[in-house]
Amino acid sequence: MPILKADAAACQGYASCVIAADDYFDIDDDGLVVLLSTEVPEADRERVDRAARACPAAALRLEGA
């Protein structure tokens, strides 16, 4: 199953991931990405991959996608 990974050092809190898939991503008060789930079932793969690619800071990756 594809695994979602976040690079906390790269995250700038732009929240484009949250807009694209708020069932997988949120941000905390400091703007740091919070992964709500890291295992992505096949049915969500394309949507979550797109959300990860929407990150302006390239802080997100869906591995095995």
Partner: protein, 415 residues
Amino acid sequence: MTGDVVIVGASVAGVALARTLRSSGFTGRVRLVDRETEEPYDKPPLSKGRLEEPVRLLTRPEAERLGLELLLGVEATGLDTAARRLALSDGSRIGYGALVIATGVRARRSPWIGPGVHVLRTLADARALHADLAQGGDLVVVGAGFIGAEVASTAIDQGCRVTLVDPLTSPPARVVGQSVGDRILTWHERAGVNLRLGRVVEALDQLADGISVRLDDGEVLRADHVVVGIGAEVDVDWLAGSGLHLEDGIACDPHGRALGADDVGEGRVGEGRVGEGRVGEGQVFAAGDVARWAAADGAPGRRIEHWNSAQEQARCIAATLLDPERPQSPSAVPMVWSDQHGRTVQVLGAVDPGVEPRLVEDGDRLLALWDDGGRVTGAVSLGWPRGALAARRAIANGAAVTAVVDTVAPREAAR
């Protein structure tokens, strides 16, 4: 061969389109043509100090795995829409079923050239600049738009002494309005950037030991390096005579179909079915910075130089190619971002710099909100990610300013 897709420009729009076609099940031929020899890379990080390892949009192994053909180091030099053929700089001509032009824009040429004088648009530009900045010394940045401001911030971090010159007295105000713009200027001042605002560079001369930059008030700045960040311009000369409508970029309908390509407006759409590799049938599309999409109601649009808009336009084109009966139009809230002196700027939706916004503050975090009398239409966040997120949702949903304020600063709303 009419079923294949040729994409000119391995830009964020071009690569997003290629990926989306594949993830949507399209099995036809997809070729990406780019004048640069580099594996496709992301441009926004280039001014933001993250250069050691460029962010790749697509690697060769990945392209191979996805069945995407990369034609790198060749430039498109001409287009014959009637014959559905693209001329390339290596002398070859390639046919297409559907063509998507996503070549972006280029840095406006510097009126001055010479050693130590840089523009910044491509990875090669960025590598040359950062090699120079690594030596320290004095940097003069001409033009205080977002890219100039980001370069100033990056260079200060690298130990350079930095002077930022711009003809406007408050350059960021042109985008975000006076009060927010003034706030951004204080970041530069606190970081130690020398500001020369309301000043025009009159001459730039090479000296034995550097560069002299003469301003219109007579001041002469000595520099080891100069960055000329005076905007970007479209480059569509190669499309002259193609029939495409070229007025400030490539004019398109609300779905990105270029006007003037032979079958736009004649009701002829592709006969493609997903998986069959027959799409678009001669259609020409444009996406990203080079494209000027009409508004949803058909009114003439304007070019949008936004990274997220480029991605969304690419997705719309992919969907329209694969299901021409239901052509797509963008719906996402436009977003521009910038990193300066360790802080983030986010510009969301439609911001009118001539109108003073409602300001919400929390410590040194600031959210500026523009509304149309009821609903939030635009916002700027300075270092306030949750504020920006609330505003972005409000713009998308047509929520009121009070709803945003209530979300991000309940105490203030209760007052």
